[in-house]
């Protein structure tokens, strides 16, 4: 009995140490009768790629925006690196945010800056000890990792949709985040570019050992990148498992995502 108990405690400790994101009873509504999240419970382990599926308007983007407090949760606990971010002051929150990267749906590149300036912008503010050569090297390295080193002096308006996503990813990577949140990374891209972006997400996870939450409608992306998938319906997580498990789910609604 005793060794088994110890084993259970160890497992619990191990599980706790491995969990980088833990969401409990998360509620969010926008005005009366518009409850978007109704008690979401979710954990993400270190190094895991979690894919969040769900119909448009089911609250997927709101969920990841709550993780960086771009949207304030109404109720519930959001623990990132074992810190409840809902109670943090601005400085402490920014310290957590620096460890999280966020790739926006339309990349959100700063229109008035070149690609170089887009990457320099966060780096120079948060890594003041770097000299100009080291800044340049970090920019080249980030651009190399997304295969777009030759676009360094281009303006965002000169880039295609896929290139914008890659540059957005490079800007996210330059601060070396431990968690990356992807908001529909392949939306609006052709099949080939979508696959390239999905492969890039996977390569980044393998290279940098990052933890990721990927919100997508693209099942090819979900299959390629997801270690685990969860499905959000009417503000709650209704299904969880690997791609193969959910594909064979007994619930017809869950299966409909895979057809």
């Amino acid at each position: 009995m005793i060794p088994e108990e110890i084993n259970t405690v160890e497992q619990l400790t191990d599980k706790k140490e491995n969990t980088v994101i833990s969401i409990g009873n998360l509620h969010k509504s926008f005005g009366k009768n518009n409850d978007v999240l109704k008690g979401v419970e979710l954990t993400v382990k270190k190094g895991e790629n979690l894919v969040v599926l769900g119909k448009s308007g089911s609250g997927k983007s709101v969920l990841i925006k709550c993780l960086v407090r771009l949207v304030e949760a109404d109720q519930g606990e959001i623990k990132v690196f074992d810190t409840d971010i809902t109670t943090l002051d601005n400085n402490a929150l920014n310290a957590v945010r620096l460890r999280i990267g966020f790739l926006f749906q339309n990349a959100a590149l700063y229109d008035s800056m070149t690609v170089r300036q887009n990457l320099e912008f966060p780096l120079k503010r948060h890594s003041k000890e770097l000299n100009p050569t080291e800044v340049e090297e970090a920019i080249i390295e980030a651009l190399d990792s997304v295969g777009l080193a030759d676009a360094i002096d281009k303006m965002p308006s000169e880039l295609s949709g896929g290139m914008r996503k890659r540059i957005g990813l490079a800007r996210t990577l330059i601060l070396k985040p431990e968690i990356i949140l992807y908001d529909e990374p392949t939306t609006g891209l052709d099949t080939i570019t979508s696959r390239e972006i999905s492969e890039l997400i996977l390569a980044i996870q393998k290279k940098n050992k990052t933890t990721s939450i990927i919100i997508t409608h693209d099942m090819a992306c979900a299959k390629l990148t997801g270690d685990r998938l969860v499905i959000l319906k009417e503000g709650l997580i209704v299904a969880e498992g690997t791609y193969e498990e959910l594909e064979k789910s007994g619930d017809e609604w869950v299966r409909s995502f895979f057809n």
Partner: protein, 252 residues
């Protein structure tokens, strides 16, 4: 009616909080000096041609329109002084501020509005960069500093326009013209007029930033932000002008 009033009070409250945040953030480091200089260049230097042309036309037209009336009373010699006083006290500050409301306030509203809609402001926030400090504080400081300089520039060009206007019908020497202009001006004419332009500049920047920063999602809101910024800034300019005149009047 109640809903309309509620939205007005809501807006007033939000603008007040937005303004209060400016005073809280402006003295806190880090200071975005580079962005502030860039904004001064964009807001000040790039507005020079527009303000210059308008100032020249104001001076010229004012002279041509006033001359016949003064000539009727045989007071044509008062023309330089009258033009300079009108320009410096009232016309140049208000017209320049209105032009800046149209050009700068709407530009800021549209720029920040589109940044908001395309999630660029959110991107700054998740990178642990304070977007209010980088985007709003720098722009408000730049307008507060640049609008008075633009008004002084418009004053100068307007007075020069007045000189050309006088010389269309008569022959006045440049030195004599300027000596008459300077003789007609007092310190009390220049100081209140200059002080109010700082307020004009502050509110032009503040309203543009507020409208852009609080734009709703969707491209339609970018147009609305730009449009409502011009309307609100123009109205505020007249209100400040009225208050400034009343206050100045107390000391004269």
């Amino acid at each position: 009616m109640v809903i309309y009033l509620k939205s007005i009070f809501n807006d007033a409250g939000n603008v007040t909080l937005f303004t209060a945040r400016f005073f809280k953030e402006v003295l806190k480091p880090p200071f975005e000096i580079k962005e502030f200089i860039r904004q001064c260049y964009t807001i000040g230097y790039k507005s020079l041609p527009l303000v210059g042309i308008t100032g020249f036309i104001m001076g010229l037209v004012l002279t041509l329109q006033s001359r016949p009336t003064l000539a009727e009373f045989g007071a044509e010699s008062w023309l330089p002084g009258m033009v300079a006083l009108s320009l410096i006290r009232e016309i140049a500050p208000v017209i320049t501020a209105l032009i800046c409301a149209g050009k700068i306030s709407s530009g800021i509203g549209a720029e920040l509005g589109s940044m908001k809609v395309t999630e660029q402001i959110d991107a700054m926030e998740v990178s642990a960069i304070n977007p209010y400090k980088y985007l709003v504080v720098t722009r408000i400081l730049a307008t507060t500093l640049m609008v008075p300089l633009l008004v002084i520039f418009a004053d100068g060009i307007g007075i020069l326009g007045g000189y050309i206007g006088i010389n269309i019908h008569s022959d006045v020497n440049l030195v004599r013209y300027f000596s008459q202009v300077l003789a007609s001006l007092d310190f009390i004419d220049i100081l209140p007029a200059t002080i109010k332009t700082f307020f004009f500049g502050f509110f032009i920047g503040m309203i543009g930033c507020y409208k852009g920063f609080t734009a709703a999602n969707g491209t339609e809101s970018v147009g609305k932000a730009a449009n409502s910024a011009v309307v609100a800034a123009s109205l505020i300019i007249f209100i400040i002008d009225m208050l400034a005149v009343q206050i100045t009047d107390l000391f004269m």
